[in-house]
């Protein structure tokens, strides 16, 4: 079990309120990702759930039981930190065993669980090393091992992949997703990387300045962003947001169209411009286009290799059905 419910939770540091009243339900077994730009309060929110920070007002319930005044140790949650926070003076074995030792489990049970976790995480050969002798990816696995042996109600991840290099990050992303599929335990995952959010989440919670801008499945957020913030944040490269006459033509203050929803045509396109930078990836080509009269720069993704170069004129056709419209407040017009 691991349902987490936040009711009217606020957090202030001194006189600055970093989280205005916020309600959120994280369902049992759900993989929830908090995503947002740095300083949006996503890590603070996670630490409130963990109990590492006090909430200023409101309630937190874990599995229907009030957890607001429960110390972190007693909430039944496990956390994986950004820096992994391994105990440098203990071997991998002792690191993983630490929470069990604190729970006063007997030795045989501890050994069994530690070795079980080690074999799941491919750490068996490293059990007697110190964290300092491990690579970044291995350390990450130890941190995860330390979390799973406790069989917690929920896992909390605080930007766990941000210290890994790009290749490892993709691998660990898959491992964590698989772990979730196998354990079916609630996971709350904080990241500023929307690709991680899109690939891993059952539910994404987009945060901005402590406020939940939108929550929903990755595709819900992609298909119908509730406002311009979510529209700009979810999806890569970013959605093009256009204001002015072109938007007014569509009875909107702002229109948004994703780079992959603009087609490059030979001539006679609805929009024209000149190519600034062209990024040829082989499978795709990204164009950064100037002088369209619509926005300072448009980003367009073409499938395959399109042989336009810097300074070339380009003709574009947005797909009408894929245009998102927003009002003056930035809210979606449906």
């Amino acid at each position: 079990m691991g349902q987490i419910e936040l009711k009217q939770v606020t957090k202030s540091f001194g006189t600055t309120q970093v989280i205005p009243p916020l309600d959120l339900i994280i369902q049992d077994g759900e993989f929830t990702v908090f995503v947002g730009p740095s300083g949006c309060g996503k890590s603070t929110l996670l630490r409130l759930i963990a109990g590492l920070e006090d909430i200023t007002t409101g309630h937190i319930e874990i599995d229907g039981k009030g957890a607001t005044d429960v110390v972190p140790a007693k909430r039944g949650l496990a956390m994986v930190f950004q820096s992994y926070a391994l105990y440098p003076h203990m071997s991998v074995r002792k690191n993983i065993a630490f929470p069990l030792r604190m729970a006063k489990l007997d030795k045989a049970e501890i050994t069994k669980r530690v070795e079980g976790a080690a074999s799941v995480l491919n750490l068996t050969d490293y059990l007697d090393r110190r964290p300092g002798q491990l690579s970044g990816g291995q350390r990450q696995r130890v941190a995860i091992g330390r979390a799973i042996v406790r069989e917690p109600a929920a896992f909390l991840f605080d930007e766990p992949l941000s210290n890994l290099d790009a290749a490892l990050r993709v691998g660990m992303r898959l491992e964590i997703s698989e772990l979730h599929k196998r354990l079916e335990t609630t996971m709350v995952y904080v990241t500023h990387d929307q690709v991680e959010a899109m690939t891993m989440a059952d539910k994404i919670v987009v945060l901005n300045a402590g406020v939940i801008e939108q929550e929903g499945t990755p595709l819900e957020l992609y298909r119908s962003p509730r406002n311009t913030f979510v529209a700009g944040f979810i999806g890569s490269p970013k959605m093009n947001l256009i204001t002015g006459p072109e938007a007014e033509k569509q009875n909107a203050h702002t229109i948004g169209v994703r780079p992959e929803h603009i087609d490059v045509v030979e001539s006679g396109g609805q929009w024209q411009g000149t190519v600034g930078v062209a990024e040829h990836l082989g499978s795709d080509t990204f164009f950064h286009i100037h002088n369209t009269g619509l926005a300072e720069m448009l980003t367009v993704r073409a499938i395959g290799d399109v042989s336009l170069r810097h300074g070339d004129a380009i003709h574009l056709n947005p797909r009408a059905a894929e245009i998102h419209r927003f009002d003056a407040q930035g809210l979606r017009i449906s």
């Binding site: 963990a50 590492l52 110390v71 972190p72 140790a73 007693k74 949650l77 496990a78 956390m79 930190f81 950004q82 820096s83 926070a85 391994l86 105990y87 440098p88 003076h89 203990m90 630490f98 929470p99 604190m102 729970a103 330390r146 406790r150």
Partner: protein, 276 residues
């Protein structure tokens, strides 16, 4: 420095450094050397640097006159006891300041340090009255408490600066792992801070060992440490150079050896963690 240094320059630097080093060390060297001379050789003109009959008789005489082992033991007990006591009190305090800092933390730290500025002589009489009242005069326990109080601010400060280098996330991890505060400090913080705690213990042991105001003024015979042992040679008998040297050597040898052995940790400790 990533550059080629000419051998010539290195020779000059070496010569200069060694000369200065030897000059600074000379008084100690001279004392140790003299302690092995006879009194006549000790005041020989010109001074004898090598050619003399080495003798241990001064050490025998000093030992006969005053029971060195008793003073030594008092020094060990008083310095060791006060340091350990201080550290036990300082660890929780330093934990608080390093990991749960508040707006007042820095003020408290500075206030603690400022208690060290309280001129000892200004409060000597009141303290001796308190000592008389509680029968602490000339006891090791009383002196241990006083030296602990004197060094407590430094111990707190040093531990604080070491603890601050330990990432808070690791302690939070321990908390998430179900550790109580006691377990967090015992199993996670303390083992991680061992090098820092060791150099704190060392430096404060040395400071307590060499403390010469309270140890001279609050002891008579029973609890007198080595500072008092050597002070008894400051009378005109001190003119017996060889015996004075032997006594001096006996008083400083233990801490000199300890200091040299632990030089690396000490240098770090000496800087109070404030200079990296």
């Amino acid at each position: 420095m990533a550059r080629n240094v000419t051998t010539q320059r290195k020779i000059i630097t070496t010569a200069a450094a060694w000369t200065i080093g030897l000059i600074i060390f000379f008084p100690i060297y001279w004392t140790i050397l003299t302690s092995f001379k006879t009194e006549a050789q000790a005041i020989n003109d010109p001074p004898l640097f090598f050619a003399f009959n080495w003798t241990l008789e001064n050490y025998a005489i000093v030992q006969e006159r005053s029971d060195y082992m008793k003073f030594l033991w008092n020094s060990v007990v008083i310095a060791g006891g006060s340091t350990i006591l201080g550290t036990l009190i300082a660890i929780p305090a330093a934990w608080s300041m390093a990991f749960v800092p508040s707006v007042r933390t820095k003020d408290i730290l500075l206030w603690m340090l400022s208690t060290k500025m309280l001129p000892a002589v200004g409060v000597l009489y009141p303290i001796s009255l308190v000592f008389v009242q509680f029968n602490l005069l000339d006891t090791r326990g009383g002196l241990m408490v006083v030296l602990m109080l004197i060094n407590l601010p430094i111990i707190v400060w040093m531990l604080y600066s070491y603890f601050k280098e330990i990432p808070g996330e690791i302690l939070e991890a321990a908390r998430m792992d179900g550790a109580t505060l006691k377990e967090e400090i015992l199993y996670v913080l303390t083992p991680m801070a061992i090098p820092g705690i060791a150099s704190t213990l060392l430096l404060n042991f040395i400071l307590a060992w060499n403390e010469a105001f309270w140890t001279l003024n609050l002891t008579a015979t029973n609890a007198a440490p080595l500072t008092a042992f050597i002070a008894s040679y400051s009378s005109p008998e001190g003119l017996f150079f060889a015996k004075l040297s032997a006594a001096s050597t006996m008083a400083i040898a233990p801490i000199l050896i300890l200091g040299w052995l632990s030089q690396k940790q000490l240098v770090r400790g000496l800087t109070f963690g404030a200079v990296k």
